[in-house]
Amino acid sequence: MWCKALEESTYVDPTFIKFSKRFTMTKLDAEVDTATAARYRVLGYPTIMVLNEKGEELDRVVGYYRAPEFISQVEDYLAGRNTLASMVAEEPAKKNDPEFIYKLADRFADHGLFEDSRQRFLVFVTLDPKNKSGKVDDAYYRLARMARKQHDYVNDRKYAQIILDRYPDSDMMKPAFLEVGQGFRKDGQLANARKIFLDYAKRFPDDEDAPWAREQADTLAAQLTPRPGA
């Protein structure tokens, strides 16, 4: 969806077209050229790599941006500003700045460097215990998802549960609720997972994810029912 938005808005913007003349513009279908996508550690789409003429990465733009923001990010990277490398160099001086640490965690994740990202998100949540930034719930959700990716389902559920306990009014509350269910399912605790999905569908019957939650509960019920003769 965001690849199309980039195509239909940013790439047809006259300012961007003019800007693009300074580059060798290249487009690769990540699902076809999987080797190149893997080589550059591309994990989300769209990802636009900014490479020097030798093909070395300066940095990357991940997601959709309109032409002015896109151009500004690329100009920064070409000038060595706001790159992941420059941020890592700045980190010792800004280690107690929650906004900087959150941004750094986010940038590491964009680069597929999840362990580095995880460490910064953990620092961030300790730097902002009162959630003045309004991003602590998001950080816990990112931690939960990273834990699930690492098959660490105990921490996956732990971080998601923190959102439910501490930030019940957060936008991340419903995703965290479902994350607890996913964590149980992945951990083989199917009855607990089913309970969570049923509870979700009951509490939020009009939510867009409620049908999906019901479907998960039904699938789990079928898995939990002993087959005759088994």
């Binding site: 690769l28 699902e31 900014v50």
Partner: protein
């Protein structure tokens, strides 16, 4: 009547990384490499 601003021609895309790297080296310019998916 105001003259219309000329609309620049669209972007010319390379579709292969090797060709892109060769082009960048030959022209001494950086590369923007867009990894996209159809979905």
């Amino acid at each position: 009547m105001q003259a219309k601003k000329p609309v620049p021609a669209g972007i010319v895309w390379n579709k292969a990384i090797d060709a892109a790297l060769a082009d960048a080296r030959a022209n001494h310019r950086p590369i923007l490499l867009d990894f996209y998916t159809e979905w």
